[in-house]
Symmetry: C2
Subunit: 260 residues, 2 copies
């Protein structure tokens, strides 16, 4: 862009022309995406599909009986593997490249630039996003994979599963639920208090990308917390009943003694 | 403040002279504390002491055997009651009065103004603080009191406690731990990335107020998560052993059937 009475070249950083909200937000070195959106989604979908297929194959290799596991266990295995993959490889990419993300043209960078139309904080090295995403990669990512592994190993347990599986499921689902509430909340609070929005107002960005794409992290954690809580309560009530009417099963912990 | 060649009266909002960081941060209508610090601490300590004494009295009224409960259970009861009280009455006060906090002279407002020397985000209606504290009041506060109640009702359970107590303890401690990591993290990320700090640099504010006063929400949740996890694992392994070698205790769930 050149001006008759102005500088011949406007420094790239100062050029307007990026599509992000709020208008005027500084996105250094922004370069528009070069790959069509449908193709980005094909790449992304294929990568996720291949990753989940590999995980399922590995699960059956480790535990052949996983094939006959309950549908809910298989579904949660897929969920936690998918979350772990997204946390490590997609959000991890953001953490590694947050400072230059707007200028990059890799598939993941272009996907982030597309998603950022619904939340420009991903392109401005926002401290809250860096902090929450950093913890998500390091803590949630590892815990998700651990949870998926304990689901596989739980198949065939006499009590239906191990305690560790439900502890991890409870902890990581609590983290997911709280994280997404904070994520929604900070953007909406900023809108209502400071009157600025990092999300473009169009239906696609506000409702499909921002609200819709994060909604699974509300719905599935609520189910997973409910499911694990129900299981833990049933196991405790079983032991409570046994301890009232002590059975003779040999172990010192089960023969009517208080379990502390 | 008057200037020879300037306006006779500087609007109060624009006056410098507040002690908060980063220098230049706008704290509308700031009024310095009028009560000595030691007296604020006396009021605060007395309120907490009276509140905990009342809670202990109520617990023994509901469950006289609570007197002979394990020390660790009593300590966790105190912890969750204290947290619930702080979340409801101290952080709740912040949520209700965040916009005018800097100008108020109630005991709680003065305590917030003193603490804000280590984090001025409490006086600027920061969206992250409002969001995280709002959730803390509504979610953590209620869950803390529920956890304390289940600890009281667990005394005398044959298995040492109820499943619900450990589910709640696990969930609320996970929330506390994640919350404090985010709280520390956002301030430190902002320092390292944007070079601005909301915390005064003196030892008292940085290490006693900011680091020290929040450290219990790292240490105690780690212990509580460990303690509940250990208990849940033991109860699951008990049921697993019983299910392998089914005892005759009458209930269909305990007689060797898989618990789904």
């Amino acid at each position: 862009m050149a001006f008759a009475d102005g500088p011949a070249v406007v420094p790239r950083d100062l050029r307007p022309g990026h599509p992000y909200y709020p208008p005027g937000v500084i996105i250094p070195n922004y370069a528009p995406n070069t790959t069509p959106l449908w193709l980005l989604f094909v790449y992304f979908g294929s990568a996720i599909g291949a990753f989940l297929a590999a995980a399922f194959f590995a699960a059956r290799l480790i535990k052949p009986r996983f094939r006959s596991a309950f549908f809910s266990d298989k579904a949660l295995f897929v969920w936690f593997t998918l979350c772990g993959g997204l946390h490590w490889f997609f959000e991890g990419y953001f953490i590694k490249n947050h400072a230059t993300l707007a200028s990059l043209q890799s598939v993941r960078a272009q996907l982030w630039k597309e998603y950022s139309l619904s939340d420009s904080r991903y392109l401005t090295s926002d401290p809250f996003m860096l902090c929450v995403e950093g913890l998500t990669v390091l803590v949630h990512g590892n815990l998700c994979f651990l949870t998926a592994i304990t689901i596989v190993y739980s198949v065939g347990h006499p009590a239906g599963s191990s305690g560790l599986r439900h502890i991890l499921q409870l902890v990581v689902s609590t983290l997911h639920l709280f994280g997404v509430l904070l994520y929604y909340g900070t953007l909406l609070f900023e809108e209502s208090i400071h009157g600025t929005s990092h999300c473009r107002p169009e239906f696609l960005y506000r409702w499909v990308y921002f609200a819709g794409m994060n909604a699974p992290w509300v719905v599935v954690p609520v189910y997973a917390i409910y499911s694990s809580s129900r299981k833990i309560c049933r196991v405790f009530s079983t032991v409570n009943r046994i301890s009232i009417d002590p059975p003779d099963v040999g172990g010192p912990q089960t023969s009517g003694k208080k379990l502390q």
